[in-house]
């Protein structure tokens, strides 16, 4: 095999892992409150700026930056839940679509107000180091992202299926009213969900910053691709988020290689359409009762 294909494979998996990581945020919210959060991409953007603030401006070490980002986003998650989700709960799909899109716009403009419109750079922790492994160039940041995505997939799966709290969350998603009647504090479940989902989005932002720069324009396209990954992987499926993300990443990179960059997005959307026609339930289709 031509070594260029191996390199393309590595790059495609790397970018796919990023989409997968963002898609996990979607999936968690779909699983517990059954809403699509279109502001999820903007948390990727915001995570970069928050990481930059702790890391570059306040000089925190990398692990502390990650911890602080999780805390900040967990708090933001409760705010998001109170301000965006709770007032609209019970609304239909379109209500939440508009609500979360509005949130995305607000987040973007607030971020511009705080940090200014210029892009910045945050190259922790590897400072753009590249390793040559038998002629294939490996970026350690890619490995870190892939490892984090796999870890989160496993962690989330365990949490939702093997812990009591996870079961409560799934029960709420399946039937909010019944869950409430059975004594589940559905309001708290929503708050917890958004805190977790935003924390994942924020961490993804910190980790993606060395590759995509800390830039106001990072969120929208990445969010859109992650949304495609969510559908392809299987609506609400946790392993599906990763599988869908990797597939979208690979399709994009090979489409660019064999055609031109202009074909990259059309081909990604064509694959989505193909899935919607041939296998609308996605790669990991699950019975409604087992949704995770």
């Amino acid at each position: 095999m031509d070594p260029i294909y191996l390199q393309l494979l590595v790059q495609g998996l790397a970018i796919g892992a990023i989409y997968g990581l963002v898609a996990l945020g979607f999936v968690l919210i779909i699983n517990t409150v059954n809403v699509v959060n279109f502001a999820q991409g903007e948390f990727l953007m915001l995570g970069g700026f928050v990481g930059l603030t702790f890391g570059a401006l306040l000089g925190f070490p990398y692990w502390a930056v990650l911890v602080c980002t999780v805390i900040v986003f967990a708090i933001l998650g409760t705010v998001f839940d109170k301000v965006i989700y709770q007032p609209l709960r019970g609304g239909d799909f379109a209500t939440h679509l508009i609500g979360t899109l509005a949130a995305a716009l607000i987040i973007r403009n607030v971020a511009q107000h705080i940090w200014g419109p210029e892009a910045r750079s945050y190259y922790e922790p590897f400072h753009q180091k590249i390793f040559d492994v038998g002629g294939v160039l490996i970026n350690p940041q890619h490995l870190l992202i892939l490892a984090m995505t796999v870890l989160l997939v496993a962690g989330l799966y365990y949490f939702l299926f093997r812990t009591g709290l996870g079961r409560l969350m799934r029960a709420t998603a399946q039937d909010r009213e019944t869950a409430r009647l059975l004594g589940v504090k559905v309001k708290h479940v929503g708050t917890l969900t958004f805190s977790m989902s935003l924390a994942m989005g924020g961490v993804a932002g910190v980790m993606v910053a060395p590759l995509f720069l800390v830039d106001l324009n990072v969120g929208f396209i990445a969010g859109l691709k992650a949304f495609i990954a969510t559908i392809i992987g299987g609506w609400g499926s946790i392993p599906g988020a990763l599988a869908g993300g990797l597939l979208v990443g690979l399709v994009e990179i090979f489409a660019t290689h064999f055609f031109t960059a202009a074909f990259k997005d059309p081909v990604a959307f064509a694959v989505l359409m193909l899935f919607l026609i041939v296998r609308p339930s996605g790669i990991f289709s699950e019975r409604v009762g087992d949704k995770a």
């Binding site: 403009n109 892009a119 590759l211 830039d215 990179i253 031109t260």
Partner: protein, 374 residues
């Protein structure tokens, strides 16, 4: 009855409009409008335009205004959307401005051109697309306080083809009018590209394209796009796969933001700048004044060009007894050898004020001129 009431309403609103006009003439106020991107993807550049114009207006007002009339600055945000720029322009035009500072994106200016022709208000821009000041596009109402891109590209091509003379070159450009015009200019200058790649707006990973460039084994890669952030991203990714290849870049690389993003990757990059900050004592002093007026303002060729444009506009307004657009247009056209911060402005029949760029190479984090063609 309804008709009569409508007429009455119309008449009274005309009366009110007339009175406000009268009032503003009494208060001796000159309105200058800025229609540019304060939010959205182009906000980083748009805010530099507003900052440059604001400094000029503040300085003129501090010295008593134009012939005793205070200058009022109105800024409208186009949200970096072509439709938004039309709305912003129309909104400004309704406040009777004498001059409007337009957006810096070529395609936005082309969208606005028919409206500018119709409203007959002189408009300044720092958009560098050659077409912007074409007589049939602008109708003589658009003035450019920047060198047109064909002249800047020519400076860069002349230098690159003699001093670097790559045996094999490759190009990656943004998939838009701007990127395509850069590619065409290099091609018609005789650059035979061994690999030609593009990227889309919003793309964050260009590794597939860069791997194809690498396979062609070029001595030099041309990067042609408009956003400094994207130029920084492309540089980072190019440097991963081709650490030593010479990079020749559009003026997106001729701002400090670019170097800060590309870090060491920006070192040795060849680009063309309308202006190099701090190269003269005047520009050093101007940069200090800009920072003093607004600590967040960015010192760049965009803010400097916008400052110059506003100063030229106010000089033209001051030379006329009445703030009549047609007279002001003539006054601007007549300006020759005006020493601005960016360079010496002489407006030609197209409305272009500057006529060449400086080829620079990033050396130790500073833009170092390697040739001057002004």
């Amino acid at each position: 009855m309804v008709k009569r009431r409508g007429l009455l309403l119309l008449a009274s609103s005309m009366l009110v409009a007339g009175l406000t006009n009268f009032a503003s003439a009494q208060n001796k106020e000159v309105v200058i409008g800025v229609a540019t991107a304060m939010t959205g993807t182009g906000a980083a550049t748009g805010q530099q335009i507003a900052a440059g114009v604001k400094l000029a207006v503040d300085e003129v007002n501090a010295k008593g205004g134009i012939n005793g009339a205070k200058v009022r600055l109105l800024v409208e945000d186009d949200r970096t959307q072509p439709g938004g720029s039309v709305n912003a322009f129309n909104k400004l035009a309704s406040s009777n401005p004498v001059v409007i500072m337009g957006p810096t994106w070529t395609n936005f200016m082309l969208t606005l051109a028919p409206i500018i022709k119709r409203t007959e208000i002189p408009v300044f821009t720092s958009a560098t697309g050659t077409k912007v000041t074409d007589p049939d596009v602008a109708g003589g109402w658009i003035f450019r306080a920047a060198p047109p891109i064909n002249k800047m590209i020519q400076s860069l091509i002349d230098y690159a083809s003699t001093k670097i003379a790559p045996k094999k070159a490759a190009i990656i450009y943004s998939n838009d009018e701007w990127g395509k015009s850069g590619y065409d200019a290099f091609k018609s200058a005789g650059f035979a590209f061994a690999a030609v790649e593009t990227f889309n707006f919003g793309d964050k990973d260009m590794s597939a394209q860069i791997l194809k460039l690498k396979a062609a084994q070029p001595d030099a890669v041309v990067v042609w796009n408009s956003l400094p952030a994207d130029a920084g991203l492309v540089t980072n990714q190019l440097r991963q796969f081709m650490p030593d290849t010479k990079i020749i870049c559009s003026n997106a690389c001729a701002v400090d933001e670019y170097y800060a993003l590309a870090k060491a990757g920006g070192e040795g990059v060849l680009t063309v700048a309308p202006w190099v900050p701090g190269i003269t004592a005047e520009s050093e002093d101007w940069a200090k004044r800009l920072k003093a007026s607004d600590s967040h303002a960015i010192v760049s060729y965009t803010s400097a060009e916008s400052y110059d444009a506003a100063m030229i506009a106010m000089k033209a307004i001051g030379s006329q007894a009445a703030a009549e657009p047609a007279k002001i247009r003539e006054a601007i056209s007549a300006i020759k050898d005006y020493k601005g911060i960016v360079g010496t402005y002489s407006f030609d029949e197209r409305g272009d004020g500057l006529h060449g760029g400086t080829v620079v190479e990033w050396t130790d984090g500073k833009m170092k001129p390697v040739s001057a063609t002004q």
